[in-house]
Amino acid sequence: MRVRVEFDSASLSGRMPVQQNSAAPQFLLAFAPLHRSALGIASGIVSGGLVSAATLALVIQGGYPEPNLGLLAQFFWGYSVSWRGVLVGFVWGWAAGFILGWGFAVVRNAVVWVWLTLIRSRAEMERYSDFLDHL
């Protein structure tokens, strides 16, 4: 789903005074969508790195108390607190982080899109509310 931010470009360019036209960057800043893949990959790298680093810390320490990160094996198939688990944990952490980040961006973009659509519908309703009075 590609969420597009649509504006009336005519009102933003020629017809408006110069100082009002400079509002365009602020509109972009407020309503532009999040990059879904970028947020997914970034979240994936962070969460994969966290699981990996935490596993590595336990492996290097040794003799860690129970319960420990090994419980993640309930969700991450093949994961264990071991050298192999560092790699497996990174892959699983990356996958989980990607889904969370990507999903967050999709939901956020969708909410902004719905919000913008509502604002535009209300503005159009107000604009044409006295339509019959002019007949």
């Binding site: 597009r4 931010v5 470009s9 990059h35 970028a38 970034a42 962070v46 810390a57 320490q61």
Partner: protein, 96 residues
């Protein structure tokens, strides 16, 4: 110069990595601080048996008031790192 509509179509939000880091740092630090002090105030025979497992990752952390201050520092550090890396990687990919 790029047409106005193209600019809007291609626009994506960029993140302020340092600001995101500071916000996440404060959030995670405060969460750990509050969680620790909640258990300290609650008391009981095995105070913070599970939360104290964090000492495996955060040396010096304990479920005490002083430990909650140490926990805040560790939480802030981890949150800051997460936010900064997240923001930096996101911006790099989004700009590409």
């Amino acid at each position: 110069m790029e047409p106005e509509e193209d600019r809007f179509d291609k626009a994506v939000i960029l993140l302020n990595a340092k600001l995101l880091g500071i916000v996440l740092g404060f959030l995670s630090g405060t969460a750990l601080f509050l969680a620790t002090n909640f258990l300290v105030l609650k008391g009981g025979p095995h105070t913070g048996a599970h939360l104290s497992l964090l000492a495996s990752f955060f040396p010096g952390y304990r479920v005490t008031f002083f430990g909650s201050i140490i926990g805040f520092c560790y939480g802030f550090l981890v949150g800051f790192l997460i936010g900064t890396v997240l923001g930096a990687v996101y911006n790099k990919i989004a700009r590409a």
